[in-house]
């Protein structure tokens, strides 16, 4: 919370992971914050995301509204008072607990919105807001990347963008209300026959429509096409595209821009189910572990990995079997993930250009001048130590720097057994992950079982197979983690 007069921070609230949008309720009583990544939780349970509600008057946390089974909460739109002031929050519903081979049967990733009826009083303990999830996909085609959402002033219509389908959907709120009444809430989240009951138009936009606003007179909607530098103007009276406003962006599409357009386009996937960016929101990760590698339920589950700063960190995949990104993003994605033809040669080249240039985020834990804190300095010494606390020499293969050398993004690019494999893993030999911005990458280990950096060693390194750490004091481990957060 910032005081605009002085420009100073008044107070700071903890959101969840990757807060995305802030919205003030029409009556000024609540501030809502959506989050991209779900709660860290048990890797064999569906994800749970969070919509934070702040009491704008008292300036305190009012409620953390849980959205079960969902990730990637985006924009927040509040219905006019005459509709009861409910909220619409676009979301993705991943089915990461089942084998990804089911892409050809659909349902791996569905796209919809949460209908949230916020509690108007301060809840005592349990979540008091009511949440219903409704899908916006059709039975035979999906509308990935729901992002922007807006009501018309009279509340009759809603416009919602599908950023990875390059489409806006317009729906009738009265019909939505009927649908919500007719179908039990526990069923709606998994019904693909909802959209056809209330969507009145689907209109093509430019690339990556991420936001939408409606004019005060309710006649026009303006859609921001992020990767086209343009606005699509929608005539809401006739439910058609009225025009496109060019915002003067570069006319020559660079490979980077083209690659980013491809990265956020779901049309290459069977029935448009998802894009690269669906599982890698903000070109990062979705915070989930997926049943990705084998078609057997529960086997070889692997945590999603970030795409930020991955140039020069080959091989790829947790099993280290993809020698380069061209293999990963070319035939492997086409045949295994998208279940389609995939990208052609020129498209693949552009996509790789983009992925190879996804930057690391600025480091939040390192001082601007690069100076370490005392704890970080102590942690660095532990990271590079060669003797245990009682003076024993640490074997070379058990030293942190051996597998995580600084000069190659803290990965030696070699697969190693660190004892994290379980009976559900085909092999214990796993790719050594890079550690750049590792604090952003939870959950950890190949299967996402370690929810925090601490757990890598306190819970999953009982036999010193992932470095010699059993002799460390709690203070030493904390210091080492502070150092890791600077990488």
């Amino acid at each position: 919370m910032i005081d605009l007069a002085s420009g100073t921070e008044i107070k700071r609230f903890s959101t969840h992971r990757y807060p995305e949008q802030v919205a003030l309720s029409r009556d000024g009583r609540r501030v809502y914050v959506s989050n991209i990544l779900p709660h860290l939780g048990s890797y064999d349970q569906p994800p749970v995301s969070e919509l934070l509600a702040l009491d704008a008057t008292k300036q305190v946390v009012a409620e953390r509204i849980l959205i079960p089974g969902a990730i990637e909460l985006r924009h927040i739109a509040e219905a006019p008072a005459q509709l009861g002031g409910y909220l619409l929050v676009p979301l993705v519903r991943p089915k990461n607990l089942g084998p990804l081979i089911r892409v050809s049967q659909g349902w791996v990733l569905t796209h919809g919105m949460a209908v949230v009826r916020p509690a108007l009083h301060e809840p005592v303990g349990e979540a008091e807001s009511k949440v219903t999830e409704v899908l916006l996909d059709d039975i035979d085609y999906y509308f990935a990347g729901n992002d922007g959402v807006a009501f018309t002033p009279d509340g009759r219509r809603v416009i919602i963008t599908s950023a990875e389908a390059n489409v806006v959907s317009i729906f009738d709120t009265a019909k939505l209300a009927r649908r919500l009444q007719q179908v039990p809430a526990e069923e709606l989240a998994d019904r693909l026959d909802s959209a056809l009951t209330f969507v009145v138009a689907r209109l093509a936009t430019g690339h990556n429509p991420t936001a939408v606003v409606v004019s005060p007179d309710g006649l026009r909607a303006y859609v921001a096409n992020r990767l086209d530098d343009s606005l699509t103007v929608v005539d809401l009276a006739h439910l058609k595209v009225a025009s496109t406003i060019d915002l003067g962006g570069p006319k020559c599409i660079t490979p980077m821009r083209r690659g980013e357009q491809l990265f956020f386009s779901a049309k290459y996937c069977f029935q448009g189910q998802f894009a690269c960016g669906t599982c890698h929101p903000n070109s990062h990760l979705d915070g989930l572990a997926w049943n990705l590698e084998t078609p057997q339920l529960g086997r070889d589950r692997v945590a999603n990995r970030t795409l930020r700063g991955i140039r020069d960190t080959a091989p790829y995949k947790w099993n280290g079997r993809n020698p380069d990104l061209a293999t990963q993003c070319g035939p492997r994605i086409a045949k295994f993930l998208f279940r389609s033809e995939g990208f052609n040669t020129q498209e693949l080249e552009a996509l790789l250009t983009y992925i190879n240039n996804i930057p690391l985020a600025p480091n939040r834990h390192l001082a601007p001048d690069g100076q370490y804190t005392e704890a970080q300095e102590r942690g660095k010494a532990i990271f590079y130590r060669r003797h245990t606390n009682d003076g024993r020499v640490i074997p070379v293969q058990s030293r942190c720097e051996t597998c995580h050398p600084a000069e190659t993004h803290y990965t030696n690019r070699i697969s190693t057994e660190v004892g994290s494999a379980t009976k559900y893993d085909t092999s214990g030999l796993l790719d050594t992950p890079q550690l750049d911005r590792v604090y952003e990458d939870a959950p950890y280990l190949h299967n996402g079982e370690a929810l925090t950096l601490e757990e890598i060693w306190t819970v999953f390194n009982n036999y010193d197979t992932h470095g010699i750490t059993s002799d460390m004091s709690k203070e030493q481990l904390n210091d080492m983690i502070e150092f890791l957060k600077t990488l």
């Binding site: 305190v60 946390v61 953390r64 005592v124 303990g125 904390n478």
Partner: protein, 389 residues
Amino acid sequence: MKSTAKKTLLAVIVLLATTGFAWAQKPHLITRWENYTTASGMPDAKVFCVTVDGSRVWAGTEDGLVLIENGKVAKVFKPEDGLPHRAVMGIAVDKNTGDLWIATFGGVSHFSGGHFENFKNLTSGLLNDICYGIAVVDQYVWVTTTAGVSRYNTYTGEWTNWSEKNAPFHEPWSYGVAPAGDKIYFAIWGGGLLEYDVKGNYWKPYTDPDEEMEMVLFRNQGLVHIIVSNVAWNPDTKMVWASTYFGLSGYDGRNWHNYLTKDSGLASDFINAPKSRRNEVWACTDKGLSMLDYPTNTWVSYRPSQQKGQGEIEITWPNGKKEKLATPTALAHNYILNMDFQGEDIWVATAQGLSHGIREPQKEAQLYANARNHRSPGDLAPSHSQKGD
């Protein structure tokens, strides 16, 4: 004539001043108790701690966290609701965010917007899961544990731990924490009182002055005993108060002020926690709740009386005279573990329930009016600065 008028006026002024002063010296009394027990919805009789947050009262019991609101038990939270452990030892309110931070025997919990986020020794940098005291200062959460003190930076996620390894902890077992401006005080069981200077990042221990015994040899020589059970800071008088199992100690930055049952109105030398504001110093003892009116050196102790359901107030005047008053209601139990203020009222954690102590000025006046042994102005206490050591 002029001279007579002057004398009369002077006499009236003196009379009014002394009479008013005498009444002003009478400490306020808690005249009514409302108790919350297992019969009224508390999940367990033993209440370890209580924290007031406006109209809400949070109590930590041996079997869960309790919210009291509008005069009743509004909600009980247990491990199945997300609480990391059933034994809730400390509760702190983050005034900035409205969130609760909770110390339990199974780690620390952040209760925000209806949900618990837990921090344990294995999942975070927390020093130990057996946690007692907790306090929030700006972006930092301070936790006392059996293995030392942990500090969590809510902005960066950094944990910093202090114990005998890196600070002057004579013993690591830490019970209480009291923020005091630029300093933070810690009650260490067997290790005395520890002072942490936030800006300077250094520690200063207060133990027995001669470092040979566990306790002081002379009355106000230093901390009364090194088994410190809890600590409180008075923002009004800038004094820190330490409860020990062998008496009560106050420190004003220069001098120590120690109190034992043998030379004060303290209900017992076995004290679980102190609390202090304005001129009041409260001591939660195993034999009742005592309050010291510091400027007048007058003590008021509360305990259940032998008459079932009735309460007893024992006033110890500065001259050592004791006076007992009876109240129709009583504390839930005489074993007091903790307390907090709510306006003029108090909330008290006892071994047999949570008590809400209510001040009623009219009844207080009646009690004093009915008392047989009124203080006379001649009983005025010497000030503490005059009292000497």
